[in-house]
């Protein structure tokens, strides 16, 4: 009986969190027109969450492409199909690995930083100070970070994909000896711009960027103003973002395929 009450509480709390997060999204959307006068802040955040994430995205993209090419070469060589390595690397990265891994890395690198920063701003009364200076924190603090996440994610995903393909080429062509022309021509013949690039890279990364940025700003804004509260909020950002990215990936794939 007690276990059931506990389960019910968790379900109710989770649904309540999702509902509050949805309402918070509406508040952010309403604040976006007001945030346009703080364009410099949005650009600053874009630098912080986008440009500062480039190194980890590039390194991870390179290694994901390299390991993918290595694995596929050995599997495809069983069937004598190593010529398809470039094609499979490209489709895997464009459709799934690019947006998903970029979003997971983005949540770990930028999402946690956003949550911790906003949480600490609340804990140290900086948010309250802004409100008392008649500066709307939703327009000045939250909306620029949300917009920066939304803009940065597709750009980072493109960089990840480019480095992933480069890594795949490095291993497949330069190391394992696949013909360079075969690698590229099979890839360009099979990859569909609409299906793989627009649906796979752009739409998915936009959706993941919105979800990660929303979870990050919501957790930070609603974090209890204590060191423990900020720590829990940061953890919740990673956990909730990871689950949301993978669940949303399935839904989007089902609809976009």
């Amino acid at each position: 009986m007690n276990a059931r009450i506990g389960r019910d509480n968790i379900v109710t709390q989770s649904l309540g969190q999702i509902g509050n997060c949805g309402l918070f999204l509406l508040q952010i959307l309403a604040a976006i027109p007001r945030s346009l006068r703080h364009a410099r802040e949005t650009v600053r955040q874009l630098w912080f969450v986008g440009a500062m994430s480039l190194t980890i995205i590039m390194v991870c993209g390179l290694f994901v492409g390299m390991v993918l090419s290595l694995q596929l070469y050995h599997v495809l060589s069983i069937f004598g199909g190593t010529a398809a390595t470039g094609t499979v690397v490209a489709i895997s990265i464009y459709r799934e690995l690019g947006p998903v891994v970029t979003a997971l890395l983005f949540a770990g690198r930028a999402g946690t930083a956003i949550t911790a920063e906003i949480g600490l701003m609340r804990a140290t009364d900086q948010i309250a100070a802004m409100e008392l200076m008649a500066v709307d924190p939703l327009a000045y603090v939250v909306a620029p970070r949300f917009l920066a996440g939304l803009i940065a994610m597709p750009l980072l995903c493109c960089v990840f994909c480019a480095l992933g393909i480069f890594g795949g080429h490095l291993v497949g062509v330069s190391w394992l000896g696949i013909d360079n022309g075969t690698f590229w021509s099979n890839m360009t013949a099979t990859v569909d711009v609409w299906q793989d690039i627009i649906n796979g890279v752009i739409w998915k990364s936009l959706a993941f960027g919105a979800v990660v940025a929303l979870i990050a700003v919501y957790q930070g804004y609603t974090a209890p103003p204590t060191s423990e509260g900020v720590a829990y909020a940061t953890t919740r950002t990673v956990v909730a973002s990871s689950i949301a990215i993978l669940a949303l990936d399935f839904v989007l794939t089902a609809f976009l395929m």
Binding site: T124, A128, E131, A134
Partner: protein
């Protein structure tokens, strides 16, 4: 708005029947208070009586369960977001913990309200900010980051930020905590100067009676959710009521309990009754 409750010209803040219950505890119990325009008013009282909470009601950060909080004729709890922000542009607020924006240096912290609400040329912003920093003795610290400031310096920067707009009202929440005697004296002078030269109304929440006596025109002593004594510093000092005697005499015994409500002491220590 109730016409009968509208403040007269010489009353900037009028609080009537303010009742607030937080976590089941009545913080304010039909509190009435008038803050005169152009004067320095101090709000004093034992810790936890809701002095900072009262400031939050004045700025609209909190709303009471009943009653009116009229600031410059406007009932704060009923204001729309836009009207509340317009009112806040005329109010300076000094936080207990300074609340400086950690992304910016001292200069940008003081310039922040000007940049947000005006389109003044950079030269003018620079001159205003340096003037305010000079007033609090920190012009030379303009390039420092908040993390490089001591508690007292951060408080003075926050004070410079609070007065950067020359507001009609400044609310000081514990302005004297952490200040050395020199800085304390300068801040007292500054509060008095702002009041005398610009006619700025000041409301101070503080415990330092000696400092308050030097600067305040009027003192409110609040306890148990009500005003228990009020008047000019001399009147309050001569009042002789149990409240003022205990508070200003620093006595543990009196109408304000020193101990937070608790169970039997001997029992808590594990002694049999009568052995503690």
């Amino acid at each position: 708005m109730n016409a009968a409750a509208a403040p007269s010209d010489d009353t900037l803040i009028r609080i009537r029947g303010l009742t607030t219950v937080l976590n089941g505890k009545k913080v304010f119990d039909a509190l009435d208070m008038d803050i005169p325009r152009g004067k320095v008013t101090a709000i004093m009282g034992p810790s936890g009586t809701g002095k900072t909470t009262l400031l939050k009601h004045i700025t609209g950060q909190m709303r009471g369960d009943a009653g009116q909080v009229l600031v410059d004729g406007k009932n704060v709890p009923e204001l729309s977001r836009e009207a509340l922000y317009a009112l806040r542009e005329k109010i300076g607020y000094l936080f207990q913990n300074s609340a400086l924006l950690t992304d910016f240096d001292v200069f940008e912290n003081v310039a922040f309200p000007l940049r947000q609400h005006t389109k003044l040329p950079e030269v003018l912003i620079r001159n205003i900010v340096l003037t305010k920093l000079q007033a609090v003795g920190l012009r030379g610290a303009a390039a420092l980051q908040p993390s490089e400031l001591s508690g007292g310096m951060a408080r003075r920067v926050a004070l410079a930020r609070a007065i950067v707009f020359d507001p009609m009202l400044i609310l000081y929440d514990e302005p004297f905590v952490g200040l050395d005697p020199i800085a304390l004296n300068q801040v007292l002078k500054l509060i008095r100067t702002l009041n005398q030269t610009l006619g700025i109304t000041s409301v101070l929440v503080a415990h330092e009676l000696d400092a308050i006596k030097q600067v305040a025109d009027h003192i409110y002593l609040i306890a148990n959710g009500k005003v228990v004594a009020q008047g000019d510093p001399q009147t309050i000092a001569d009042d002789g009521s149990p409240w003022t005697r205990q508070f200003f005499g620093g006595e543990a015994d009196g109408p304000v309990p020193f101990q937070y409500p608790a169970g039997d002491y001997a029992e808590a220590l594990g002694f049999p009754r009568g052995e503690a």
